[in-house]
């Protein structure tokens, strides 16, 4: 059984046809409304002359983008079929928008990497693939677009697949890559099967998106992680209710189970799993719920409830890959606020270990600083212990953001390393 909500991200080089592809998905799955279409038809004719319909305009966002004709921020799109509801994080492809790509990828289950069949595997497509892998997206689709411009040639498709496969060997964490030849402009292999490419017997894009399994399909496979967000205590005197609320980040919890509360290590049992709709015997990720415990413990926001036999690391030191999101340089010795699950602490960058070259995928040794859109491995020390997992095994308890206390800006996106 699969979750009926799928989040995917798209990115590619400018002009690979990303906007056209999304427009095509929306249009062919009949998600475009008449007034939107009229609007797009009008705008297309203004730009391209009578009779043109540029589906790319369907995903047109802000005025600055319309003026410059580029996507500069993540935009979210929604469509549904009988099988699933989809959320698209539509990301810009330029290097200068790496941070937007990271943002879009952070919540995605699938990433759709676009290639232009004529131009081949360009740097931006590689960067997107790399970032998707770094952000832990297990399922990747390589959409080889504009097949109509290479005479729907199987040979060209195989050539590109081979080239990308060579590159993708270095992408850690990606469990499956599906290659699909398509023409977003003409609609081949996007929603309906192409008559032009009888040699292709794989799935068309929409079928694949409808069927692919996502992380939450097997919530029980992961250890339970429940960060406490909020303590529910009705006004004193009225009742002695005390509930610990939060969203189950992974795994499952059952009534009666023994739990431990980190970082302190106190133990108790689950007395009840409450929701507004009544008590539950068992809850699975990603549900929001409220736990009552058998013992009266003093637990507050930022602590983590889990099973005592499956605990995460608890430490004040960690090692992580950080994508830097601001022009102010990151240097060892700098201090930031670090928000991890529902806990915010102060963190110091102890050392910069290396930097990732998003082109060659090599790690290059100890840089002195990181600039906007750079990604590097660093060691951090925190003012209080955190309970965390490696990002590769848990995206919720393995991620954090860094906040600059003077500007309040979100300046870094961190993914905790295996050997943290």
């Amino acid at each position: 059984m699969t979750l009926d909500l799928l989040r995917f991200t798209t990115a590619g080089s400018v002009d690979d046809g990303k906007s056209t592809l999304i427009g095509r998905l929306l249009y062919d799955s009949k998600q475009v409304f008449e007034d939107q279409l009229a609007h797009v038809a009008q705008a297309s004719e203004r730009r391209g002359g009578e009779g043109t319909l540029d589906l790319a305009l369907l995903t047109d966002g802000l005025r600055a983008e319309r003026e410059q004709g580029i996507t500069i921020d993540v935009a979210y799109r929604y469509f549904a079929t009988a099988k699933r509801r989809f959320i698209i994080a539509d990301c810009p492809g330029h290097q200068q928008y790496t941070r937007n790509m990271v943002t879009g990828a952070s919540t995605a289950d699938v990433s759709v990497v676009l290639l232009d069949a004529r131009r081949g595997v360009l740097e931006q497509s590689k960067r997107h693939a790399f970032i998707s892998a770094l952000l832990g997206i297990p399922d990747m689709v390589v959409a080889v677009n504009k097949m109509d411009l290479v005479e729907y040639s199987q040979e060209r498709f195989e050539e590109l697949r081979a080239e990308f496969e060579g590159y993708s060997e270095k992408l850690k964490g990606v469990q499956r890559i599906t290659y699909i030849p398509m023409s977003a402009l003409n609609g081949d292999n996007v929603v309906s099967r192409s008559a032009e490419m009888p040699w292709y017997d794989g799935p068309v894009l929409l079928d694949h998106l409808e069927q692919v399994e996502v992380a939450y399909d097997h919530p029980g496979e992961k250890p339970a992680r429940f960060p406490v967000q909020w303590v529910i205590r009705p006004a004193a005197g009225e009742t002695d209710y005390r509930g610990y609320s939060g969203q189950l980040a992974s795994g499952a919890l059952r009534r009666g189970e023994e739990i431990t509360v980190l970082p302190g290590g106190l133990r108790s049992r689950i007395a009840a799993i409450d929701t507004f709709d009544g008590e539950l015997e068992e809850a699975t990720a990603p549900m929001s719920l409220t736990l009552r415990l058998e013992d009266e413990l003093d637990i507050s926001r930022g602590e983590l409830i889990c099973h005592p036999e499956e605990t995460p690391s608890v430490s004040r030191e960690l090692s992580a890959d950080v994508c830097w999101m601001t022009p102010d340089l990151l240097r060892p010795g700098s201090r930031y606020l670090l928000k991890h699950t529902s806990r915010t602490v102060t963190a110091v960058i102890d050392s910069l270990e290396d930097q990732l070259d998003t082109h060659t995928l090599e790690r290059i040794g100890a840089p002195t600083e990181l600039g906007l859109n750079d990604i590097g491995r660093m060691r951090l020390r925190t003012s209080a212990p955190l309970a965390f997992d490696p990002y590769s095994s848990n995206r919720r308890t393995g991620s954090f953001i860094l906040i600059d206390e003077s500007s309040n800006a979100t300046v870094g996106a961190g993914m905790i390393a295996q050997d943290a």
Binding site: T2, R85, I232, S288, N408
Partner: protein
């Protein structure tokens, strides 16, 4: 641990869980949140989500309605009843008062609307009460500018939104740090569509104001939309008043919200109608968004909902 088959979350439950998480984050990280409640379907869903997030305790924030004075009476009646049922506190910020005190200037002519004036009243009320976070029911599927807005969206000390300089929003980690005088708008329904909202209202069996169901009403046609006759209406030459069976897809100011011809009398019928519709909610019913290609973007930058 065993990997027995477990009940799966439907997309509505997944969206619900995400929204509850957002609400609890805001309650925990801000000192003075407020929930904007208009009596419309989206804010009705917000109230249910707040119940799910905070009961059995009272909400850790008051509710606030920015009242244009040109509302549908059915909606005001519903608003007051719902607030009483919940036992929560409602603040009413009045556009009429902003006009009377000279803070806002009434538009004139038959196409006048108090829609834009709401921004003044809203920002004044946020400042007066010292609110640092305001929950709104806006969704990203509504409109192109909204498609890019964050779930937690920063507003500077003038209440302005800067679409080109938004904070990156990663995973479900929201950065709620602001300085005094600034605030955030929070949109827990960002990832919901209009259909999701109606399916949720149906599955939760929530009561909604009667104008969401088909009813007979005196209307007139303008710019291709059906507007309700009201004490505030000024007809333009040639416009005729007639009676039709309509319902509303959005509830806004009577002066700029159009009805749609409909037979839907129950929640299930509304869900079916929305699932089959070929026109967007705002395109069909909101004159305020038709003004220009970037009408919403401009209003949002100035501090609108």
């Amino acid at each position: 641990m065993s990997i027995a088959t477990r009940p799966q979350l439907s997309h509505l439950r997944a969206l619900e869980s995400e929204a509850i998480h957002v609400m609890r984050e805001v309650a925990a990280e801000f000192e003075r949140p407020v929930l904007l409640f208009s009596g419309g379907k989206d804010s009705i869903v917000l109230l249910r989500l707040a119940e799910k997030a905070f009961r059995p305790a009272p909400f850790p924030f008051p509710l606030m309605h920015v009242d244009t004075g040109h509302n549908f009476p059915e909606v005001i009646e519903y608003r007051d009843r719902r607030v009483r049922e919940l036992g929560e506190r409602l603040i009413v910020a009045s556009v009429q008062e902003s006009i009377d005190s000279g803070r806002a200037v009434e538009e004139t002519g038959p196409r006048a609307s108090r829609n834009r004036l709401q921004t003044v009243t809203l920002l004044d009320a946020i400042a007066e009460h010292g609110f640092d976070a305001a929950f709104g029911g806006a969704r990203r599927d509504e409109e192109r500018a909204r498609a890019k807005e964050r779930i937690m969206s920063f507003r500077d000390d003038f209440g302005q939104w800067d679409p080109k300089n938004q904070r990156p929003e990663l995973w479900n980690l929201y950065n709620g740090r602001i300085n005094k005088g600034e605030h955030v708008r929070v949109f827990p329904l960002s990832n919901w569509t209009e259909l999701d909202v109606w399916e949720y209202i149906d599955s939760e069996q929530l009561e909604v104001p009667s104008i969401y169901f088909a009813h007979e009403r005196e209307v007139f046609r303008r710019d291709g939309m059906l507007y309700a006759m009201s004490p505030f209406t000024e007809l333009i030459d040639g416009e005729e008043v007639f009676t039709d069976t309509v319902r509303y897809r959005t509830v806004g100011d009577m002066s700029c919200t159009g009805g749609v011809v409909s037979k839907a009398q129950t929640l299930e019928q509304v869900v079916l109608e929305i699932a089959a519709t070929t026109i967007t909610e705002r395109g069909e019913t909101r004159a305020d968004d038709r003004v220009s290609e970037a009408a919403m973007e401009d209003r949002k930058k100035a501090g609108y909902f």
